[in-house]
Amino acid sequence: MRNIAIVGVGITKHVSKRRDVNIPEFVYEAVKAAIEDADIGIRDIDALVTGNMPGFEGVNCPELWGGGYWGGYKKPMLRITTGGSTGSSVAQGAFYLVASGVFDTVLTMGFEKQSDGATTVGLESAGMSDFVAMRAYGMPELDPAGAIGMFVFQAISYMARTGCTIDYFDRAAAMLRSNAAKNPYAHIQQQVTAEDIADTPMIAYPLRFGHTCPTSDGACAMIVTTKEKAQKMAKKPAWVNGWSSCAEEASIAGLHGAGSINIDPFDQRGCKFAATKAYAMAGIKEPQKEIHLAEPYVPFAHQLFLYPERLLLFNEGESFRQFDQGVMHRDGRLPICPSGGVVSSNAIGAAAMIRIAECALQIMGKAGERQVTRDVHTAVAHGLGGQANFNVVTVLGDKPAGR
């Protein structure tokens, strides 16, 4: 296993509609930015790994049409897709391709151009086959309000199991949105207070509009390479020292209406499994002490507390109690989502890769206005996909792990 590092990152400004570009042109913007950030030429790229959730744009395998726009002409190109966690699964594809020794330098990109499709169409088609199967057996019409319908149960369970209350979600969303205000790539960039969030209409108790993510057009690209090349390319590469992912049964509704053994999407055992393996691979024994920054996948405010605990950074039920002491803020001991997180910008295929890219930028000291106060030697990124049943964890550091 070879040491690998991220040496270049490109992220587009997330917006609700980029009607001035088609899909290949849009993703090219992130690719161009990543290549310039790594200061390399396209000839230095040995392979591409790409992915998105095509149901949202209505173009099957868009890299067949767009690959040439992204530097893939006459190069090896791999396509990986795993739902919301696609961006992180694509990135891990790049990590495997370089760490295995098959390729030296890989360009990887995740994206979604949701404005080309109706916003809920991708989500609807995720459950359509189960929904029509259950309807065939007399299941009543059901409208759990899209993705929120699944994650809202996490929020209720978290409140019941830990004593957390809804005002913490308001404060979490206010912190994340205010972080996003300093992030030039974020979709929603307004400095807001918890009171502003509390005033937004309730969609499904306990989640308000202010607690939920937008649907964005966004793309992210990264350059991953070997130790030898990374040290030539970047002053301070972001070393990718550990990664793993874990699949569980889809929560709430199994196949064609079957009962699911993923009884409560609050448990997220898969996240704990993946985190444990990723930390072990990175040589991290006590994540609560050794991790300095985290970018969990937080499309909904309550997840700012749930996932850091599932990433073993806090004991269960303790993360929200430490929130008021500012532990998770940009100037805190363990900044969480200094980028503003998925609740501020959500282009499905890019979101989970951006978590990794943001950790890399913080480690490289290239996060500009949103660079956190403390020194960041190690960081953990997390992607979530499917019906809360794919957890993908990546551990980065400012030094290569001992191999």
């Binding site: 007399g138 759990p144 149960f153 209720i156 209409p201 969609i203 064609h256 079957a258 053994i261």
Partner: protein, 159 residues
Amino acid sequence: MTAETEHIQISGKWPLTQYRWKTGGVLDKFVQGLRERQIYGTKCSGCGTVFVPPSLICPRCQSRLKLERKENWIRISDKGIVVSYTISHMTILGGLKERPVRPIYIIVKLDDTDTSNMAQLMQTEEDQVHVGMRIKVDWPDNPKGALSDIFYFKPLLAP
């Protein structure tokens, strides 16, 4: 080419109505039982996991449930607990709008099963519903033998 946006766009569609899915039809037997208010779970003889509604494949053993064997159809009580819930304020079908009546959707786990699924809780005030609440199927007067027979639950007063 719509005029209201200054950019040209071309419409297209993903004809999902042209897709079929083969389900294996396991719910046939399940819904027949509901007509007599009988809930049957399917058991994996490998690891003992009981699925309600029935599953055909056990994720723990990666095995097909042996549903030709009677002993793998387990009679399940109609009592259970609220694993989690939500009070739905808005609907998104046909555009986001406030609901006149707020349904309580729940994740329900029936006693002696190892799975959960979604349902709706009736006859309960918004401040009454809580995690762990004991509930019971609110059977219709004459069940039709359909999933709607066990979609509605009500509080279980006597334990």
